[in-house]
């Protein structure tokens, strides 16, 4: 069996009619427009509401509390005063949105090259570890170079981690889904080792606590809304917004982006047109990982400041990035909006809810986030469902409103 496999052939031969994931998504995007993702989210929230109703809670009250918990009621009485609960909650929602944007972009960029990067979580962790290490090991350095070094190295580390999957795909044809899943778990266990007893990044002052050192004051990102001690919103938020613009510009205004999209639509055609498929697979994966690594760096330098063994299984940002990218149709604007939705959901269902007074317990609501996330991903993966609902409605409208249409057409 091994002799047969060693004959030189291009990796990943697309089989005849099977279009890549990216091209099918693009086709459905043209077909469904903005309505489909909106409908997807609405259906997911409805089903989530049914679960809440079936277990004896009031879904309307629950969603209202989650809405307020996420600070979205801030728009009714805007203020910059973070002593105000709504304003504080909104700042926390935006904090979550920051890393979600970047993790969403990580999934979206690979998607546009026809790859499914499930490894956002692992790349995020690697960026986080590196930022943590550099954040406290050069204490006393002047702030700007310190932050820059930590951010750049963490981003590069995320890119390298994802690059492993890219290189394996380009050279051996190993499926990126399998390799990124494995890399995720390797990153998780490496983290358990780094921060665990006797690990290299474990607290140097207290050897029994499986938590890292706090990063140096100089390496912390400036907070522009709220207070640093109270986990205020840091300038990384603007970096994430800028990343959305960069993502758009790279994909739509550069040769690199053109090549990446060409490979994503049809690797055969791209290769025929003189584009190196292998080079673009590696490049797209590395850029993808860079986004996730940057997310890790901003979270670490922006508000976490330290990390421990117990934080590892709790973190789900990288996985949420999958839902964000899919719901956002792998476009810059879409990812931005979907990140805000999931950021609101993430904070609004957990810390934003007060345990005693709200109509649904945060522990229940937190899991509601996963259910909604799962439904969104499920429905986006099967656009057929949402499209068919949409088409059926169009048909009904055409039949019901047939006379109106006929009347409109009659004069012409």
């Amino acid at each position: 069996m091994s002799e047969v496999a060693s004959t030189p052939e291009p990796p990943e031969q697309p089989q005849g009619d099977a279009a890549t994931l990216a091209s099918s998504v693009a086709a459905k995007q043209r077909a469904g427009g903005v309505i489909v993702p909106v409908l997807t989210a609405v259906i997911a929230f409805l089903i989530g509401g049914l679960v809440v109703l079936a277990t004896g809670h009031n879904p309307l009250a629950a969603y209202h509390d989650i809405f307020n918990g996420a600070g979205l009621n801030w728009i009714f009485h805007p203020t910059t005063d973070v002593a105000n609960t709504a304003a504080y909650n909104l700042s926390q929602t935006l904090l979550q949105t920051t890393s979600l944007i970047l993790c969403g972009l990580a999934v979206a960029f690979a998607f546009r090259c026809g790859m499914f990067n499930i490894g956002g979580q692992g790349q995020y962790f690697i960026g986080l570890y590196v930022a943590n290490w550099l954040g406290w090991s050069f204490a006393g350095m002047s702030p700007l170079p310190h932050v820059l070094i930590a951010v750049v190295c963490a981003t590069a580390a995320g890119a390298a981690w994802a690059g492993i999957a890219g290189v394996l795909k380009a050279t051996t044809g190993a499926h990126e889904v399998i390799t990124t899943i494995m890399l995720n778990w390797i990153a998780i266990w490496v983290g358990e080792w780094l921060f665990g007893d006797g690990g290299p990044l474990q607290n140097s002052a207290n050897k029994t606590v499986p938590i890292s050192n706090d990063i140096a004051a100089g390496a912390r990102l400036p907070v522009f809304w709220g207070q640093q001690q109270l986990q205020g919103l840091h300038v990384g938020f603007f970096v994430a917004i800028a990343a959305l613009v960069v993502f758009y510009l790279i994909l739509n205004r550069t040769t690199l982006g053109y090549e990446v999209r060409a490979v994503g639509f049809n690797p055969d055609a791209a290769a025929y047109g003189g584009i190196s498929v292998r080079k673009n697979l590696i490049r797209a994966m590395a850029i993808s990982g860079a986004f996730a690594g940057l997310a890790g760096a901003l979270d670490m330098l922006g508000y976490l400041y330290h990390f421990g063994q117990s934080d590892i299984p709790v973190s789900q940002v990288g996985f949420l990035g999958i839902a964000v990218a899919l719901l956002g149709r792998n476009t810059a604007v879409g990812v931005g909006i979907a990140s805000l939705l999931f950021g609101a959901l993430l904070f609004g269902t957990t810390h934003g809810l007060s345990a005693g007074s709200s109509s649904i317990d945060p522990s229940l609501a937190g899991n509601l986030t996963y259910i909604i996330q799962g439904l969104v991903v499920l429905f986006v993966g099967a656009d057929v469902l949402v499209l068919s609902v949409w088409n059926a409605r169009k048909k009904v409208r055409r039949r019901g409103g047939g006379s109106a249409a006929a009347r409109a057409e009659a004069p012409a």
Binding site: M182, N367, Y370, I371, L378
Partner: protein, 405 residues
Amino acid sequence: MSSAPWTDRLDNPVSEKLRDPAATGYAGLLLAVFAGFLAIPPIEARQVAWSILVGLVAAFLGLWTATRGRRRLGIGAIVAGFTGMGLGALAMQSSTGNLETVFNASLVAQMFAFATPLVFGAIAGMFSERSGVVNIGLEGMMLMGAFWGVWGADKGGSWVVGLVVGALAGGLLALLYAYFAIHLRADQIVGGTAVNFLALGITGYFFFQLYHGNYVSQGVSTIPDVNIPGLSGTKFLGPAIGDLNLMIWAGFVLVIVSYIVVFKTPIGLRIRACGEHPRAADTVGINVYAIRYGCVILSGCLAALGGVYLSDGFGGGTFNDNMTAGRGFIALAAMIFGNWRPFGAFGAALLFGLSSAIALRLQVYSASASTLFNVLPYVLTLIAVAGVIGRTVPPAADGKPYSKQ
């Protein structure tokens, strides 16, 4: 007479077989394992020279194999030879007392205990993928089994009810996935990822709703251990296999049965046909959709049984949030590592189970090293899919939705 090279005199059928590249390659691999084993309990060689000697012989056999066409196998044996040498040398650094706490008969029992969820998960994944449906959702289906299984055992009062309820819950989630993957032709990887999120949310939600996030009440009926009467007094077999959980034995049976079903029966042929070339299968009158639905649902039930074992057998009737903690993905890895075959998957599951068991025991040396040991299954799978040693070959139509014409 003297003109003939000396090797001609060896031309008899037996030596022919022995000099076959495959034979020398596998012999090299075995010797490499032996080089590592020299240092640990039954033998306990105390001199590094022994390990180096055996490891070098293994590497030599690998080199010989590699030069005669079987390059991957040969390189594998060479790498394994040097790894065995290194591990043997490392083990000889430590005291025999420590070695005996790590490597003893109960290690075998622990290996089986860690491997069993993986065995169920890997066989589950094999059925689904052999029929042409990628199942990334194993983790979620296993998690469903873990929670609803222990819930069933608690409310139904018997572990049998737990097994049934757990399998049903996993099967139900698999049915949902099958509907999306087969009927709606959704992307299977996206769908599988969604299944994992859903299961995480559903189990977490109902764990809090039904048990307030606390432990499941004490005294839940748990899956019993099978006590083999004759073995309890013996030195090695007693602690190794004398008192294994029922589900571990069920796992062994499952591997054999699934091998027979997939490779020796007409229904297995149909399953494989759907995974290799659904159009051809359809042409000869096989109902591709029915086969795929059946396989995915069976896959969900089996993965869930692995989950029930985790919560109601291994865990002794407890549950906690995200209890499977990536075991579904290790099962997926075991299936890939085992090349989509029952015995291959079983072997890989045992290897991964052994590495987990050793990782747990290595804490006598160093907590941090034992933690790092847990990455082994993932690294090995990464190497396997990259095709450095041998190549894994998925079913040809794996992951491709089928639409009838």
